[in-house]
Assembly symmetry: C2
Homo-oligomer: 242 residues x 2
Amino acid sequence: MSVIRGARERARTEVTAAIKEEARRQLAAEGAARLSLRAVARELGMASSALYRYFPSRDDLLTALIIDAYDAVGAAAEEALAATEGAAPADRWIGVCRALRDWAVDHPHEYGLVYGSPVPGYAAPQDTVASAARGALSLIAVVRDARRDGVLGPPQGRPLAGEVRDDLAALGSELVPELPVPTVAALVAAWAQVFGLVSFEVFGQFNGVVGARGPFFDQSAAALAAQVGLAPADGAAVLPAK
Amino acid sequence: MSVIRGARERARTEVTAAIKEEARRQLAAEGAARLSLRAVARELGMASSALYRYFPSRDDLLTALIIDAYDAVGAAAEEALAATEGAAPADRWIGVCRALRDWAVDHPHEYGLVYGSPVPGYAAPQDTVASAARGALSLIAVVRDARRDGVLGPPQGRPLAGEVRDDLAALGSELVPELPVPTVAALVAAWAQVFGLVSFEVFGQFNGVVGARGPFFDQSAAALAAQVGLAPADGAAVLPAK
DNA sequence: GGAAAAGCAAGAGCGGTGCTCTCGTTGTTG
DNA sequence: CAACAACGAGAGCACCGCTCTTGCTTTTCC
């Protein structure tokens, strides 16, 4: 499977990687809108037409970058998840949120590619979904571990309306059957809300509004943790910075 | 000021409006990335070069559309604000959130233009800010009215960290001095979180995850209302749909 | 009123883009 | 070794944003 058979196959994977690397460089520098196939080919010293042997269209290149970005942000979240193993659930939640946010701040254009407005004609539905789920799964894991350890409280908020309850019961039963339905609802909402906070920061909506972005994000993430039923550690007065 | 003086001036405003109208049509149909000056000019039966008399560049046209979109979403929010005058604060909050969300669902590409990844080279900083604030101001107004009527409770969440407190105290004192600082903090966070929910729905992140989007949004908006200190109406068991 | 000035539309053109097609070349395989 | 498939490069198409020049019309000023 992973054995590289001939020189041709080896070259192909190398060139493909080089193209993605250069494209990611341009994406980070100029944004998705300014990413140009010809410029990538030029930088790599090859004819632009040759590039189509590797990616059939610009959108396919972008899709590859989208998948990579999803994987990168997912990996950052998973790393934070592993690093906080054994810590208080609320702190783990904040840690994973922090990892998502820090990655987004460090890679604004790649973040915009995946969590901003979808650039191509609503392309790439299926290929990306597995990678896209990784970030969310880390948040879920925090809650699931808390439940396993018996430290998961009830989520805040009013009782669920019937339609919402049925809908999320179906989702929960196939994804996290051990979690109560209201927790699933709060979790999905918190998931979206975390990225609302991140997007506003990365996309500049907080310009001139919020100055201390990092502490503010931690504060909000802590509130979201409480909302899904992760009680804050009673000892600590305030969550430790950084 | 608003008197149209000559035929020339009148023609100019009409042509400008026609350009924006056609551009908005293409934006809604194809998205910002596919919006083409030449196509707009073609559709209007004029030379593409003539269009530059009205908008010095494509980015300027986009900026104009951005301002219009901000105004449209702001108007929708203000309308909901006015329509719920006198209702319970939590219901007003939900109503305004609903208006924002409904507008976004109805105008996904325009929504993406303003709340998605910033398309041009981070352009349009100052011109847009007044229009951009309108949506947020409606949310603020709900809370301010609740405070005025003495029905504003304390926000949920832990005490604010010092840095966040100082930061938002400065913001609050110049914007809504009558609100307590923790309320301002919760409000700003809720503001971003509302758009997180909307963005996930509009940008397709909820595909295959949440089915009953409308009720789910209402449920989440209600939780956010509680978070900023707007107690739900005790009488109603569940918020009335639509 | 008539001349000067300013605004406007249209065309040609420049450099850039995504993408296709063709044509030699080269590595792979029966 | 020969047939074949993959590959790189070049030319070219249609489109793009944008500029410049050329005439024409409206406004402005003496």
